[in-house]
Amino acid sequence: MADLASAPTLLQAREDLKNKKYSALELTESCLRRMDAVEDRVQAYLHISREHAIEQARAADAKIARGEDAPLLGVPLAIKDNICTQGLPSTCASKILSQFKSPYNATSVDRLLKAGAVILGKTNLDEFAMGSTTENSGRRPTRNPWDLERVPGGSSGGSAAAVAAKECVAALGSDTGGSIRQPASFCGVTGLKPTYGRVSRFGLVAFASSLDQIGPMTQTVDDAALLMNVIGGKDPLDSTSVDVPVPDFTQALGRSVKGMKVGIPKEYFTEGIDPEVEASVQEAVKTMQSLGMETVEVSLPHTKYAVATYYILACAEASANLSRYDGVKYGHRTERAGSLLEMYENTRDEGFGEEVKRRIILGTFVLSSGYYDAYYLKGQKARTLIKRDFEEAFKKCDVLAGPNCPTPAFKLNEKLDDPMQMYLADIYTLSVNLAGIPAMSIPCGFAQGKLPVGLQLMAPHFQEETLFSVGSQFQLATDYHKQFPNL
């Protein structure tokens, strides 16, 4: 058997499985061994479905032996725990769902399974995907594989850490305000938030329905394209999924980017950005120029309103979405339930963590009588202006490039008690969700010698192919994505 100390890339795994260099079972077992070796330190997973995964790997091997093929046949993946998986826990890292097992699969999971994937387990997150560090997990924090004293980012911190620590070939995350891109950036992996509506949200536990989107977290841009080929496309079970043709995204990989225009938003290089982050991103811009891309300065003038707009709208939607956790149909129910009202209130007090409560209260406030116009409606109008900023910018360029986050990974506990500081760190990622456009984070350097820095690429609606072309060319010219932490 080949040396399989840790997970290969998805592209490599596919080739090796086809060439029978190793079996799906051997590959799956190598991921499980890797977890045995590093999970006590990284804590990327909430649930490891060992037996299930071995069963699926054996089934994949039987298919391979019969000469069958499928796009992900025998490839072991990890799934963020707010994406429903039939028969496995789907807890959102919340006490209120700690015993919950979904009776159905999310459409994205269904598509992975039909494509032959093996599900290794469910990864950690900030409770209900609310947070930027994975410290808001109701179970335990995940650690950054590059520096165990630091956070992996969030909310898809478990998926990012599992990919960086090579505890899976690739993973799914979800992104409402940067929850795929920011942890991808902190952990030095590739993360794509697709166009809103590109991937079905059916079975993704709702946080802010007009912003949520599932996407791939992978070792390379090539791998993200392979996963998008499987999970993209209209789904009758999600009426907000958009009926536009899904191209073969792998065709965009390696495509020339010569003459393409890359816009640099000046508002993304202002006060507060870490000098090493800024230097890495500027270096990345030079690399893009060396690939034949032309740079133009653009302006996204409403960037300074993105944090306020996002927290108004996302919390408003969250307060409505999370009203379903009432202790009746599923999830936790309090033992202190004298009256119906007490049952609701105590169930929710016991079941939700602090950040979730904070956001429910803020969301309820901005929707409440007397404040709706000043906050919620105003936020929706500000959203229009933020969306228009991108429309104007894309008249001058094909793709935008900038930092993903102002800083590299924070230390554990550094921002836990100052939620406002934490929200401000999301400044570069939130606008993308408000505008519904696709964006990708790819590794572009290191700060303090070992902390990964991410480059954010943004494209117009449904132009993921542009991101794949630019991203794959960038990864042909650089080797940041080939560096992994020593664990």
């Binding site: 009426s239 958009v242 309103y305 306020a308 004298g338 049952m343 803020l362 409440s368 906050y375 939620p419």
Partner: protein, 94 residues
Amino acid sequence: MSNELNIDAVARLARLKLTDAEKQKLAPQLAKIVDYIDLLGELDTAGVEPTAHVFPVQNVFREDEPVKNFPETDYLSLAPKPDKGHYEVPKIIG
């Protein structure tokens, strides 16, 4: 407008019972956040249409054909207190 967030009133609307310790911790944090989001007040939005959804999706229709996806028992088995095919809750009408 920042001091207008009355945590007791909003928690009641949100059906959240908070302990005194939680209220003491959350209230100043929320005041700070509300202060911050007041920033939108300076933005001129006269004549700007609100965006609830990035694409102009109107009603989405499908044929009304019943599909039996999941057995009834699967759903009831998820409930903390199922009772003879129903959900049990505390007494509602006195």
